[in-house]
Symmetry: C2
DNA sequence: CAGTATCCTCGAGGATACTG
DNA sequence: CAGTATCCTCGAGGATACTG
């Protein structure tokens, strides 16, 4: 394996980053969350080469982020859907989106799509929170310590 | 520029992913949030080559995520600190950490460090929330629409 | 200590054509 | 439609040595 060092087996962020810090993987996941499921759709929407797309999809299936689901066409084919593990990546994508919207605004100032809470129409926002007292946290509010053994 | 297509100028996630979906960038940011500031410390802690480290640091400074701050040694040197834009990446890193801790547990089951709210000692958690009604959201609770023009 | 310069390798990713 | 097979390029990244 190349880049083995990237995946420091001790660090959670490190191992997640080894999977998600791949050129196409984050974009592929964006498409999945937007509803894309089929090979040809990924290929045309993302303008990714067929071989790399095949590889990335297989990798995400291997990791348990996507699963292949059969559907009927002329012959039986498969589409790719999020597993529970995959769905759990939603906060990562949303945090990325929030940050990009605020700090890397598009040239023409328009977002490519809007997101709203289905029930009340409110805006969607990713944040870090204290599970105890419920306040929103920044890096400065958090203490890093050696793990409890 | 290689991989120009990656940075679909329309999509916020796309442009953020082009920066953060780089092999070493997420790990570099992890180190920064853990308090690393100096070249040699990054180099030894991450086991990254000097040239790539130089490049990545310059890139993050260019993008306004890090800034160089002079400090006194034998001669004047610089260390790298988060800008406001850089600090704003905290939710991304924390979302990644939460996900990894739950879905990519380390081999030996131990995290490499713990995080606690400085004030109350509570746990730290990244989540997606509705700014209107305040409930926690999953992908299923969110509607995607064409942007308002 | 914090880089820069040089050189090299290898593998990620693209293009294209083919297959069931 | 959803891939697989083949071939090729180029650039990301490592190793090493040097510099102020």
């Amino acid at each position: 394996m190349a880049h083995a060092k990237l995946a420091d087996p001790q660090c959670t962020i490190s191992r997640s980053a080894a999977l998600l810090g791949e050129r196409w993987t984050l974009l592929l996941l964006r498409q999945v969350f937007l509803g894309t499921r089929r090979f040809e759709d990924f290929q045309s929407q993302m303008d990714i080469s067929r071989s790399v797309l095949t590889e990335r999809l297989a990798e995400l299936v291997d990791e348990g982020v996507l699963r292949r689901v059969a559907y009927k066409d002329a012959r039986t084919r498969y589409e790719y859907r999020l597993t529970e593990k995959g769905h759990a990546l939603y906060p990562v994508l949303m945090a990325l989106r929030d940050w990009g919207a605020r700090w890397m605004p598009p040239e023409d100032g328009r977002p490519s799509f809007d997101l709203h809470h289905h029930d009340c129409g409110g805006d969607v926002h990713a944040k870090v929170e204290c599970t105890e007292c419920g306040v929103e946290l920044t890096a400065r509010d958090v203490r890093v310590t050696a793990p409890n053994r």
